[in-house]
């Protein structure tokens, strides 16, 4: 009998401006919450995966975390792949339990990068992902790098700023149904188009938030049966990597999300049509649009018009980022991608109230690190 991987615990903290929070406090609350949600105790955890922090950076963050909460796992490691980190840790946790090396792996993330370092500080720190010699001397920022993607992609596939704005508007509509979302007041397409330009063609409201918050998951071995009715199975996983720096990207229109999703769909024996709810990395409106078309949820040039027609809404053909995503729910570093995963679990458990996707049985979770550089796709299945 093969061992299967199941998400048995999920938890996320409050998100937004949390002046009393700290990185380790957010880690601890998330971890203990997820462990309790799984019906376990901290001593049951035999594997720990942590990400990274801007406010409490450390060479060995997972060891620091284990020390702080007093656990001594058989496996512990920190992972840094930008926005792909959460999905990659989920893929790694599934591998650890499926191989029999661990029984219960805790994945934990959190950062207080809004209150702990200021928005300017976070923007400057993020710009350091630019190449030190071939990008940063020219004033590159993460939004500017994605703007280079946007300008080219819009040129190639006739994407309009209005279509990108429709993505931001739909995310805000989703966030309005989530009581914890960082930004909930509705916005219009005109609000997006009239917000100040950050790096053309991207406006302020095309860009994700900077938030405080944390989130954690517990991935458990199931051998072979589902450990509990609320457990969510990891059905398929995949990664794709093409570059780190945008100056070295082999293409400005074709990225590793195509490979990562193909691998995940193949493992799960599914196609994009089989997905009930999608939770896809949305650092910028253009990020999501490129991913939707590269993964195959829409043909090239069709995601924008579809977004305008409400395809990504709760009753659309592909309900997407039903918590509001990085654009409106919140973005706290590696926890940003974890919020997508936590929302997927909650949708598949069927207990998210007014934002519930009807009969959601399958979810597609996707993370993107760098400038569409590193990708990881995970397909989840509920009961």
């Amino acid at each position: 009998m093969s061992i299967e991987a199941f998400i048995t615990g999920a938890y996320d903290t409050e998100v937004g401006h949390l002046p009393d929070s700290s990185c380790m406090q957010l880690h601890t609350e998330s971890a203990l919450g997820a462990i309790k949600d799984a019906g376990l105790t901290p001593q049951d955890i035999d594997g720990v995966l942590c990400a990274y922090s801007f406010t409490e950076p450390h060479l060995m963050l997972a060891s620091v975390f284990c020390e702080q909460i007093g656990i001594h796992p058989n496996f512990s490691s920190a992972t840094q792949v930008g926005g792909a980190t959460a999905a990659i840790m989920l893929m790694q946790a599934a591998a650890l339990v499926k191989s029999g090396q661990c029984e219960h792996v805790l994945i934990v993330t959190g950062d207080n990068r809004l209150s702990g370092m200021s928005r300017d500080g976070a923007v400057a720190a993020l710009a350091e992902v630019g190449h030190p010699q071939f990008e940063r001397p020219f004033g590159i920022s993460v939004p500017a790098a994605y703007a280079l993607v946007a300008q080219k992609y819009m040129h190639e596939y006739d994407v309009t700023s209005e279509q990108l704005a429709a993505i931001a508007v739909e995310h805000r509509r989703h966030a309005g149904r989530h009581p914890k979302a960082h930004k909930q007041e509705p916005i219009t397409i005109d609000d997006v188009l009239n917000s100040r330009i950050i790096a053309s063609p991207l406006h302020l409201l095309d860009c994700c938030l900077i938030s405080d918050g944390g989130a954690a998951l517990v991935v458990s071995a199931g051998s072979p049966s589902r450990p509990s009715p609320s457990a969510v199975q990891v059905l398929g996983v995949g990664q794709g990597h093409t570059h780190e720096h945008i100056v070295a990207a082999p293409s400005l229109t074709d990225y590793g999300c195509r490979q990562s999703s193909q691998n995940a769909f193949q493992m799960a024996g599914m196609t994009p049509k089989d997905i009930d709810v999608a939770l896809i990395y949305d650092s910028f409106t253009i990020t999501l649009l490129v991913e939707l078309e590269s993964i195959g949820f829409f043909k090239r040039g069709e995601a924008g018009p579809a977004a305008l027609e409400g395809a990504l809404g709760l009753d659309g053909i592909l309900p997407c980022n039903t918590h509001g995503g990085l654009l409106s729910y919140g973005h706290s570093g590696a926890a940003g991608g974890m919020f997508h995963a936590v929302e997927a679990v909650q949708q598949l458990r069927g207990n998210v109230g007014v934002r519930q996707v009807k009969n959601a049985k399958t979810a597609f979770v996707h993370g993107d690190g760098g400038i569409l550089s590193a990708h990881c796709s995970v397909i989840l299945g509920g009961t």
Binding site: P137, G139, I140, L148, A199, L252
Partner: protein, 131 residues
């Protein structure tokens, strides 16, 4: 706060010392004859370490561009708004540069450019001049 200083490495010092003399150099693979997008320790296509340098004619086209209004650090804030472009050079390598601008500068994708140089701190760095 100053703009980031360029610190050349073993793989890039030929490029940056060329820039100091206003000579644009690029790296190519002597095994498979492919130009490297940016310099590195081996050929990114065939992993050969038989890499050579050649002098570029300095002509290329705009692959993409953006006008940055929100600068990442105070050092760039006084320049904003400023253009950043990705330039596909005729010899097959790639540069990220700023674009030399006046009040009417409006670049477009596919536009031909010539690379000139501008002093930034201790280092001359490439700059795209629209044709």
């Amino acid at each position: 706060m100053k703009k980031p200083e360029v610190t050349p490495t073993k793989e890039t010092k030929e490029f940056w010392s060329g820039c100091q003399k206003e000579v644009l150099k690029y790296q190519y693979c002597n095994t498979c004859n492919t130009s490297q997008l940016i310099p590195g320790p081996v050929c990114k296509k065939c992993q050969s370490d038989d890499l050579k340098w050649a002098q570029s004619k300095g002509k290329g086209t705009i692959l993409s561009f953006t006008e940055v209004h929100r600068a990442p650090t105070p050092a760039f804030r006084e320049d904003a708004p400023y253009f950043i472009a990705l330039i596909d050079m005729d010899e097959g390598f790639r540069l990220m540069t700023n674009i030399k601008r006046d009040a009417h500068t409006q670049p477009f994708i596919g536009q031909p450019v010539t690379i000139v140089f501008t002093q930034q701190g201790e280092q001359k760095i490439p700059l795209a001049q629209l044709e």
